[in-house]
Symmetry: C2
Subunit: 435 residues, 2 copies
């Protein structure tokens, strides 16, 4: 892995290189996705079935689009009991963590008869998209479903593409059942997103769509945004390790590789104040890579977006950490909690040498759906907040309004909104009933 | 105003009619906006100055793009002292309300050495867009700036188009100064949005852009979303009044008109269980309209999107209220707080007959930037939440990780992510340093 000295210029070049991963235009995909969406909007179930035949090779109709209880039972039989046991343990941790994110409705009252507040309401119906194909991630099912469940969403549906045999991958079904999904529909791609955004005879319209997917799914989510809410569009995975000379180079190397294996666009960066550590980590990486099953992907992603940066000072290193705003950040330094206080931008912060990033992917409890590609500067992890919304509450007594009504009229008239002023004035006109 | 009986079919027709207000395609605008954005990205200040000359007729350059302290002093001299006094009163209420929205960082610890938590950080820099033209809304400046200020945003900048004389409207400047804006730039339209999203020599790049604007501004915000965060794209204003026979028809009529005057696309709907009230409100509306300065707009908006609906029961009425998910909802019934418990979807809920909607627009404290066009089903009012983000905190001791490390390896291997498994395993290999 390349070792560079951290300067303003290296920082700038790296930031520009990383940003290349967010394409400006999706060209031909966009047109195809829009056509699918329009078709599903117009022809509903019929379009969904026809695309499923075309793209997944499966014969799906109104009679078999919904996964049955029988299919779920079969899935439980097929899944490794050890995986089921781990899913259940992870589920408890994820639920516990997200339960702490719940927000209360609140109000404040004043004696003149003013009540102001905010009412928190869960979304009514949420759709979770789960990709098909070879990469089957039951952890992703848990991370997308549990926050919605904890938020109190009434109905959680899931869509996922079937294989050509019309079946869904067993571990997906088991994770969905464990997490509490209410209904699972065998449909994938842009057609699944369109079906959940607008509703079909078989698939109900939802309020929000979450979950990862390929370029078609991502573009479809972007296209239906506004008709429904969506989660953010996930970019390639990223890890940034901030380490000093106290760090174990073997652990650091292993952690960098854990994200590099995701895909060729993934980014793994070490920023360190120790040139010795830099060299050791590079050497450990070379040794590990030889033994790992996803060696080819790892090699490409390190070539593309892997860096070891040597900083003059911890402050310089932290400044760059905040500029990169990584999805995952590990702090492996002498006083990592002190360093944490200086971190402004990161999706998740892993503190200390035993807080390896995959601990967060699967088990610890915080969500693994995190902002990527610098968006940790303004976005947060998926969580309960994403499945609630807030309504303002305003109640004034006659006395309370009378105290301020002239001010409101003044303000409205300055903005030339006379009907606004009128609506306040009418309440304090003498004999207003007769006018 | 038309009076209809509320049935499933009327409800469906109205929902479809209201949705027509969200265009599917912006056609020619989109291309023009994208061209402006690309030009500003490439040529920065030079592009900004040239568009400002072209669209606003103003000679703006690096020397005068920033509003000076002198210009702000002049603005204070020009603004009606009564308006200034009202702005200051409203500001206190808005700040108080939003202060209650602040969220704390939190953590939870377990004795095995686990710390999990969530760190709340304000965004570093926010840009507020303020439209120019004839409609000058200092209240909008307050509502967009104060939540960012309360959230702890370090730097709040503002962009607003200058007149041909290179000046900005005095009440905009005064409201900005009162609310605590750090810098005001004389640039408007898509070019202002692009400048804030990507930065120019004069205008710093921001993390989030908020504020209303015309179609160019809205499309530009949509286009830069992802590079920066944006608030939601506001649609035409809406009021929905739910009233029974106890309501004062004159107040209800005046409140409906207060939103109808915003623009021809605005929607004003009364749902009532009382046919008598329906008729009285219609009559009051006819009388009021004649006297109001924005009569033409009001007449058009009532023709397009105004309805009085008579429901068989309060439950039916509430069900429709929840389907429409109005930006503003007034509850003017016998037990309005009891009715409030049944409301799932509304941007802001005004309770009781003295809680007239314009009270919320200007003065009470809750934000007047609210979800429109049915999006109250999944979006919330602008608030402090929009100007913070949350980073997950994960810290495990060796002991804590040792308790669960085999489970994590199991999970990772089931997902065929061997480098993930390796990063955990390496920490518990004997003599791991030597391997």
């Amino acid at each position: 892995m390349r070792i560079l000295t951290l300067t303003k210029e290296t920082q700038q070049n790296i930031l520009e290189n990383l940003l290349k991963r967010s394409p400006n235009s999706y060209g031909e995909y966009e047109g195809r996705v829009n056509a699918i969406i329009e078709e599903v909007r117009a022809n509903r179930d019929a379009a969904v079935f026809s695309y499923t035949k075309k793209f997944d090779g499966a014969d799906i109709d109104a009679g078999n689009i919904l996964v049955t209880e029988e299919e779920i039972r079969e899935a439980y039989e097929k899944v490794d009991p050890k995986l089921l046991s781990v899913i259940r343990k992870a589920l408890v941790n994820i639920r516990d963590y997200h339960s702490r994110q719940r927000q209360n409705s609140w109000f404040d009252s004043q004696e003149s008869g003013i009540i102001l507040g905010q009412k928190v309401t869960p979304l009514a119906r949420v759709g979770v998209y789960v990709p098909g194909g070879k990469a089957v991630y039951p952890s992703s099912v848990l991370m997308n479903v549990i926050p919605a469940k904890v938020a109190g969403v009434e109905q959680i549906i899931m869509t996922t593409p079937p294989g050509a045999d019309g079946k869904v991958y067993p571990s997906t079904l088991v994770a969905a059942k464990e997490a509490g999904v209410d209904a699972i529909y065998k449909v994938g791609g842009a057609q699944a997103i369109a079906a959940m955004a607008f509703g079909t005879e078989s698939i109900p319209k939802v309020d929000k769509i979450v979950g990862p997917g390929n370029i078609y799914v991502a573009l479809a989510k972007k296209a239906v945004f506004g008709y429904v809410s969506i989660d953010s569009i996930a970019g390639p995975s990223e890890i940034l390790v901030l380490a000093d000379e106290t760090a174990n180079p073997r652990y650091v190397a292993a952690d960098l590789l854990s994200q590099a294996e995701h895909d060729e666009m993934a980014s793994a960066i070490l920023i360190t104040t120790s040139r010795t550590l830099a060299g050791q980590v590079a050497a450990e990486i070379d040794r590990f890579v030889e033994k790992l099953s996803r060696k080819e992907i790892i090699t490409k992603s390190l070539e593309n977006y892997g860096y070891i940066l040597v900083a003059d000072s911890l402050d310089d290193a932290i400044a760059t950490v905040n500029e990169i705003a990584s999805e995952h950040l590990e702090l492996v330094t002498k006083n990592p909690f002190e360093v944490m206080t200086k971190i402004r931008n990161a999706g998740a912060i892993f503190i200390g040498e035993y807080s390896s990033e995959p601990l967060g992917d699967y088990f610890a409890g915080p969500n693994h759906v995190l902002p990527t590609n610098g968006t940790a500067k303004f976005f947060s992890a998926l969580g309960v907040d994403d499945f609630i919304k807030k309504s303002s509450i305003i109640s004034y007594s006659r006395e309370a309004l009378e105290n301020v009504y002239k001010d409101i009229i003044q303000f409205a008239e300055c903005e030339k909104l006379t009907a606004h002023a009128n609506s306040i004035r009418v309440r304090f006109e003498e004999n207003s009933e007769q006018k």
